[in-house]
Amino acid sequence: MVKADDAVLKTAAQCRHYAMCKIDYLGTGLCPPGKRYHYVSYYPQGRMDLYAALADNLIPVTEGLVHIAETCTMCGVCDLQCHFVTGLRPLKVMEALKDLVEDYLKTGGKPVSIASDEPLRRLRSIVGTEWATNDPAVLVTYANDPFPLADMRMPRYVVLPGTREEVASVVRLANELSLPYAVRGNGGSVFGFVFSEGIVLDMQRMRGIAIDKDNWSAVVGPGVTSFELQQEVFRHGFRINTAEPAATVCGNIVCTGTFSTWSYAYGTAADGFIDMEFVNARGEIYRLNDKQAPNVFAFENAVIPAPGICTEATVKLQPTTADEDGLLVPFWDFDEAVALARELGRRRIGLAVAVLGVHYIANFMSPSKALADRLKDVLPESLGIRYVVFAIGDRYARESIRQLAGPVIDSSLWRTLTLGLPRLLDREWQDLVKGFEAGRPPYEILIRPEMRPLIEAVLRPSPETLAGAVEEDLRELYAGLYSQPRFTDMTWLNMFRIVSSRMSRRKHMFAFLVYVPLDRNDVINHINAEFARIAAAQGIDHDFGFLTPMDLGKRAILEYDYYIDHTDPAERAKIGRAMAEIGPWLDGLADRTKGVTFLKYVFSQGCSRKENFLYR
């Protein structure tokens, strides 16, 4: 029917569904039709899927598709947004989709009109005509994710309710019609849980944020993303524990509970909210703070359904101080890095703490995959850095860390290294840096205060220097972004987490998260080694991700990442075999080791008390 361009299709198929095109995280504005029509189909993410679906003949050219294609203004915002985190250039897909549809119409093709049916009419009577559809061009963008072990599940309807009452009515209607339903947040689904052959509810329209300063809380609708809420509370001088920027706040809480480096101080799961409102499976509205509400604070080490559809969360606001800043303590040895992180936890020093591997550091800093790959080699080989303890704290905390740990990369040096990154990787400079080494790793010399003028002279850090690492036509835009202090501000970056998706720039990421006892290095090392062994046996790219201390350094959350090309069937088979091995191994380990819990079992139990899964 339509002929797709292979190169464009390759880009379209690589969309990771991280939904970064659905938030204005660069301050460049949002995709205009996405902002207006809310369905993911109108965002670049949906258009990438649509192009791939057309190429696979999964859908016809429908009236909905024609509208989606025609409303794209080719403004180009998506190109920078997507490139910033994934390195992809989606604009050519947007253009190709428009061209395909235009050619189809020009050559006499008629858009298919999808007939309404009774369930759709009733759904529309609940939410309004515009906010429920059965057009395949919309449905297909809610049918799949890069999760490679789940097949596509095309829903019959997609609904965008605007109020809790509408959500409740949709649920009751679904029950009456015996239609299954699923509710979608914003981002990709790690385990393929958010698809349905019946109704998919997209909560995009419920985007209310109400700040109650006196109660240190914010009431948040289920369509509000972490980035948007953080932005709003930050404006009032507060902070929230933050999920991935494009993840919805409510969805994230219900799913796994919000965890991040800030969980070091703010906890996770039930620590993050004051109250929540749900629509249960019968279509009834209840709040957790009702005496009669189901006990969602308990935890069962099993995969169980969510307590309902969250229609509102009252989340905790956290205080900030003007002297907060970040620092990094480099390490060669993992156990030494863990020991420092644990010590900080025990002594209650700092607000956000994590042990990070070089893959994370390299990707956080680098605006391009090529630069990240080189930095990933250079950090251990030339600088002697395999891990860092990352911390955010006030000036007292930072001073304590210096006293405990010795030399640190402070925020100013971090900015210098980031903005001078391409020159940091120059071969000649690298050779010289390597030559510094003897009893002490080279980074110790580099971070000496007296070395700063030399480093500044060598790296000549500037937004333009860093922008030199990306394609020529994007350099001016990148230079503009990096001339804004927040883009090299460790605290801001960690609060808004805008660079975290860069981890998946090389391939789609499979994140395995495990709660671990932080005083058991043997267990932590065993987990890392076993993840590495299983990945190596299957030929899967893999890396240590991060480790964040929790609950005063008694426990921690550990992430180990696998990377696969989700479009490659051979890679899908590999991850399938790996997961078949990981499940029983981790279950066995958790059964016999106190403090070990696989996050898979916290899915849908994100409202539970953390103590119930950390201390089983």
Partner: protein, 387 residues
């Protein structure tokens, strides 16, 4: 037939070329690295060394891994080598001073040696040549004899593992009835006549650093107004020279013991030929080079003024700038070699080298210039081989 390990390294490659020139047949144990096959690595090294095509036929390449038990060889390959070899020259070594790399340094310098000795023990080989280092003498001063030593402390993990390797080789060779020759060179640099070298660390590193800094600040002056150069007190003199104030704490030691690669190879050959019963041999320079001389050569070569050698006392209490700090860092690693108060005895090696007419040249400004010309020309090793 001689088995040679480390044949793709600086010393090993030169020894390989020497043995081939002597008409020996050599089995080279090598591995692929950085995208190059073992054959490619060896092939381009032999070309670089100018080994004639006829001699190259006497090289047999065996792909193996020093850090693997059995050297990673198939049993039939290992058995065949065992039947053929008369001598082993063990040159392979990790020269890293980095404490963080201790596991890999130990893996190469001790475990790797152990694996080679395993093969030696079950082979027909009767002579084992171990390339070690004069610096197994460890921290200290005074006369260091050509004998087995057990120093109480070392400068770095390299020295320590080389010393332990000597003991390991000594014990295992004695048990296996192998005659052991241990060669202990000091710091080896390029060819004294041609300046050619394969490695640009040790002597070269501080010189290269000085050039890097000079170029850095000259560019700052020419292209960016010279603010950063001014911060460091760097300026251009009218005569095309650059003033770069930089203090290097030279101490009051005797200097640095340097031998050119051509001396090392000839000394190795002479001792191998003459000392059939084995023993320990210092391959060192009877005259150490003063830091002040290296500074003078460097300044003259690169047209720099302002670098000075200071004593610790002179440096004390005075603020260090970034340039001082860079060199201070270098001296943390290489200071014990640059301010060396050790005297390496040559009671065994000396007479042999005298008989064979092998003498170690002093590092003169002329030799320095040849070596640096070559280093700069080949981009400090980046352009050693044709693309």
């Amino acid at each position: 037939m001689i088995l040679l390990t480390g044949g793709t390294g600086f010393l090993g490659a030169h020894i390989a070329a020497h043995l081939l020139e002597q008409g020996e047949e050599v089995i080279l144990l090598a591995r692929s690295k950085q995208g190059l096959s073992a054959a490619d690595r060896v092939g381009r090294l032999l070309d670089w060394l100018g080994v004639e095509a006829g001699r190259k036929k006497n090289v047999r390449l065996v792909e193996g891994r020093l850090d693997h038990p059995g050297l990673g060889l198939e049993p039939d390959v290992s058995a065949s080598i065992s039947r053929e070899i008369d001598e082993i020259v063990h040159c392979a070594s990790s020269t890293s001073f980095a404490e963080r790399k201790r596991p890999e340094v130990e893996a190469v310098n001790l475990d790797g040696l152990g694996h080679v000795l395993d093969l030696a023990g079950r082979s027909r080989c009767r002579r084992f040549h171990l390339v070690s280092s004069a610096f197994v003498a460890g921290l200290g001063s005074g006369l260091c004899l050509e004998e087995m030593v057990r120093p109480s402390a070392f400068t770095n993990v390299y020295e320590e593992t080389k010393c332990r390797a000597e003991w390991l080789a000594s014990e295992r060779c004695a048990k296996a009835g192998l005659r052991l020759s241990v060669y202990r060179p000091s710091i080896v640099y390029g060819h004294s006549e041609t300046g050619r070298s394969l490695l640009f660390n040790a002597l070269y590193y501080p010189v290269r650093t000085a050039l890097f800094l000079k170029n850095l600040y000259e560019t700052d002056i020419h292209e960016r107004g010279g603010r950063r150069a001014a911060e460091m007190g760097v300026r251009l003199d009218g005569d095309g020279w650059t003033v770069m104030p930089l203090r290097i704490m030279a101490g009051d030691g005797a200097g640095i013991n340097l031998v050119p690669i051509d001396f090392f190879v000839r000394a190795f050959g002479a001792i191998r030929e003459e000392a059939n019963d084995g023993g320990l041999f210092h391959l060192v320079n009877s005259r150490q080079t003063r830091i002040e001389d290296i500074i003078e050569y460097t300044q003259a070569f690169f047209h720099i003024r302002g670098i000075s050698a200071c004593s610790g006392q002179e440096m004390e209490g005075k603020p260090r700038n970034a340039l001082d700090a860079v060199f201070e860092t270098y001296l943390e690693a290489y200071g014990p070699y640059m301010r060396d108060r050790r005297i390496f005895g040559t009671e065994r090696a000396g007479p042999i080298l005298d008989i064979k007419g092998v003498r170690c040249p002093e590092l003169t400004s002329d030799i320095f210039k040849k070596c640096l010309d070559y280093a700069v020309q080949c981009g400090w090793g980046a352009r050693l081989f044709p693309e």
